[in-house]
């Protein structure tokens, strides 16, 4: 022990130096050699089905790869097919009604008392999104991404960028983001002349096509959307995290739905003609979003609230609560409740009287009318080998359009102006 006695005072210090070389010197080489950069995948099959209306099937393949230096690449491919019928905006009548298809190719008839649905609603959509996120310098994270979505008659391209800064030992994160989107619509049959009457004639008549074309103003139109988002995320304690976002979204261009009409009725409520709707070509939305996640001993709560208001005078409130309950065998169950309520746009009307002055903007689309929706659902997750996970989701969705105060007149008192819609969502997800 002679030599050790000499080293008595500095054994620890000498050891520190020796260790520094060992653990400092090999970080780079060893990191390259061993940290596995693997892809994580989520695949999902979702089916959405409204009673007697639209049904949609969606396949999602999402991949995420995390690189050694915390760079994250996310890619997602979505295929949708939509089939079925959707409301064309006209009101039900005590007599059958005939409409011309938006394409000009033929007509369809709606039975008395039924909400007019356009049954040619059929589309396939392919959507691709990519996002790259990486640490920037000390405490900063940047993220850029893009999205491309293509349907038969609709193309959407968007890009986004986001920068986040961590403070306070990563307990606080501030972020600012922006996104720009360009959408092009090329409806079959062209863009209808706003407020013009739908041509209802004999579609076999040789002059029908030229008359139909007279109600069209072009083959396509577009809109642009610019979003800005500010967010703050705060870790409250080891069990709780909260997040607040504000977003500003401005759209301009063609915001009208070329497939929607509004019934023009006489004093007895009987439809005389169907006018193509028209919406303002600008819209500014403000959205405020708050979310909290809380880890209880028995599970995880995820609750959020969103308030949205825009210059079309639509206001909406969304409450969303999920509670994940893990079981000791690793399975989990997650009940989900969502409530949504919205007030109508100022130019929304369920119908218009033929002798009333025609406003500049008008729409009978229930989706911008007074509307409540409810969702209740359940998700069940099953862990698989190698941290893979299989989950099932089943949700019931109820849409209840409401009156904006417009009094029904004449025959409209005898029909359902605000028909509720029930839908079921079923989803299977496999993550690996």
């Amino acid at each position: 022990m002679q030599l050790k006695k000499q080293n008595k005072s500095n054994l620890k210090a000498l050891l520190t130096t020796a260790t520094c070389a060992l653990l400092g010197g090999t970080v780079q080489a060893a990191t390259q050699a061993n940290t596995e950069e693997t892809w994580e995948f989520d695949t999902a099959l979702m089916h959405y089905s409204e009673t007697d209306r639209v049904s949609a099937t969606e396949v999602i393949i999402a991949g995420k790869k995390t690189f050694v230096n915390d760079e994250v690449l996310s890619l997602k491919l979505t295929f949708d097919t939509l089939t079925g019928a959707s409301a064309n905006g006209a009101v039900a009548q005590p007599t059958p009604q005939t409409f011309t298809r938006p394409s000009g190719n033929g007509q369809y008839t709606i039975q008395e008392g039924e909400t007019p649905l356009d049954d040619t609603f059929q589309d396939t959509r392919v959507q691709f999104t990519g996002q790259w996120t990486q640490p920037w310098w000390e405490g900063y994270t940047v993220s850029v991404g893009g999205n491309l979505s293509k349907e038969y008659d609709y193309t959407s391209i968007s890009v986004n960028g986001n920068i986040a800064r961590d403070f306070n030992n990563k307990n606080t994160t501030l972020s600012i983001g922006t996104a720009y989107a360009y959408d092009l619509i090329e409806p079959e049959g062209g863009i209808p002349d706003p407020l013009s009457a739908m041509l209802i004639g004999d579609s076999d008549d040789p002059s029908f096509e030229s008359e139909f074309n007279a109600t069209r103003i072009g083959s396509d139109d577009n809109k642009t959307t610019f979003d800005v988002l500010f967010g703050v995320t705060q870790v409250i304690n080891r069990k709780m995290i909260v997040q607040f976002n504000y977003s500003l979204s401005t759209s301009s261009g063609y915001l009208t739905d070329p497939f929607k009409v509004i019934s023009s009725v006489n004093a007895n409520g009987e439809a005389q003609e169907y006018l193509h709707e028209n919406r303002p070509d600008d819209r500014t939305k403000h959205a405020f979003f708050g979310q909290t996640k809380y880890h209880f001993d028995s599970g995880f709560l995820d609750a959020s609230y969103r308030y949205m208001t825009d210059d079309w005078e639509i206001e909406s409130h969304t409450f969303d609560v999920r509670y994940l309950i893990p079981f000791s065998n690793g399975h989990f169950i997650e009940p989900h409740v969502r409530m949504y309520t919205q007030s109508a746009a100022d130019f929304y009307q369920p119908f218009i009287q033929e002798d009333a002055p025609l406003p500049d903007f008008i729409s009978a689309d229930y989706r911008i009318g007074d509307l409540d929706t409810y969702t209740v659902g359940l998700k069940y997750g099953i862990p698989m080998d190698n941290n893979n996970e299989l989950s099932f989701r089943l949700e019931y969705y109820h849409q209840a359009p409401k009156s904006n105060g417009t009094e029904a007149i004449g025959v409209l008192n005898d029909v359902e102006l605000y028909e509720p819609i029930d839908a079921i969502v079923a989803q299977v997800t496999y993550s690996f």
Binding site: Q2, K12, L22, L23, T38, R238, D385
Partner: protein, 306 residues
């Protein structure tokens, strides 16, 4: 000192993730030990990712430095004793560290001592080898006979090296380096009782760590609180020889080839890095009866079991 080993084939290389208060425990089997990584986060994906990084590192080090794995670099070096074997930067740094441990311990810490196991079988029997046999084997022991450079190592013919004394501790430290690169969150890495922590727990709360020991009964087990740094344990109460009432420990004095007299059954040492703690614990055991005194003189925090 190497501990009881279990065949590697007895377990598959998978990482289990279990939820617990404040986060997750990721566990896997590596280096003949149950390995656990405790991560204080509620982000399960992050925890799983970090667990995988930890496991891959532990397995990588096992594959590279285990003398039980015929395909390891360690086996390659041993099989080619007498010839130069190419080494990479990591191995060079590890060998440099071992060289310094050898120097600091005045030659008592020596990873070539494994050859003596050909004479000593610590199976609880009275099977004491002859002095002649031990002296023969001592010809093949001695780190000073190892020739190495940043690019190669060469053992004398008949010699063997064994990273078992520091491999697990090195894996713990490497894992801490990799995990703290991923996220600055509280982590405890425990590879078969050799462990280290990183990141500050909420309210600077310490980790509670049980000192593991094969002979522990519930009334002697003790808890250590750890806010930073590492601890490592050396010793094994179940490995000794008994002859004529004399207990021969399995801790061999490299100079004589004979067991050290009256070392503690186990000694646990705290140090900033696990590999330091491991070296100090082994060195302390080599002091035999003076083990605790040695650590006390060096002002090193330790827990001894006799």
């Amino acid at each position: 000192m190497s501990k009881n080993r279990v065949s590697k084939t007895s377990s598959s290389r998978t990482v289990q993730c279990i939820s617990r208060d404040n986060g997750f425990t990721l566990s896997f089997f590596a280096m003949a030990s149950l390995c656990e990584v405790l991560i204080d986060t509620h982000d399960k994906k992050l925890a799983i990712r970090m667990g995988n990084v930890a496991a891959n590192e532990a397995w990588r080090i096992e594959d590279k430095y285990s003398r039980y794995d015929k395909n390891s670099l360690c086996s390659e070096i041993n099989a080619n004793a007498g010839n130069r074997v190419e080494i990479d930067d990591e191995t060079y740094h590890l060998i440099e560290f071992i060289q310094q441990c050898y120097d600091l311990s005045d030659g008592e810490f020596d990873i070539t001592s494994g050859v003596l196991r050909k004479a000593w079988f610590f199976d609880g029997s009275d099977n004491i080898p002859s002095k002649k046999r031990v002296n023969e084997l001592l010809n093949f022991v001695g780190w000073q006979h190892i020739e190495y450079s940043p690019t190669y190592i060469m053992l004398k013919k008949g010699m063997e090296i064994d990273f078992g004394g520091i491999g697990k501790e090195y894996a713990v430290d490497r894992t801490i380096v990799l995990l703290s690169d991923i996220a600055n969150i509280p982590v405890l890495v425990n590879y078969g009782g050799d462990l280290a922590v990183s990141g500050q727990k909420k309210n600077n709360e310490p980790w509670q760590v049980g000192i593991e020991h094969p002979s522990f009964t519930s009334d002697t087990s003790s808890f250590v609180t750890l806010t930073s740094g590492a601890i490592a344990t050396s010793g094994d109460a179940n490995r000794f020889l008994l002859k004529d009432g004399h207990r021969y420990s399995h801790i061999l004095n490299i100079k004589t080839g004979w067991p050290v007299e009256l070392p503690p059954n186990s000694i646990t040492v705290a140090a900033p890095k696990c590999i330091q703690a491991g070296f100090l614990a082994t060195l302390a055991l080599l002091q035999g009866i003076d083990a605790e005194e040695f650590l006390k003189e060096q002002d090193i925090l330790h827990w001894s079991i006799r």
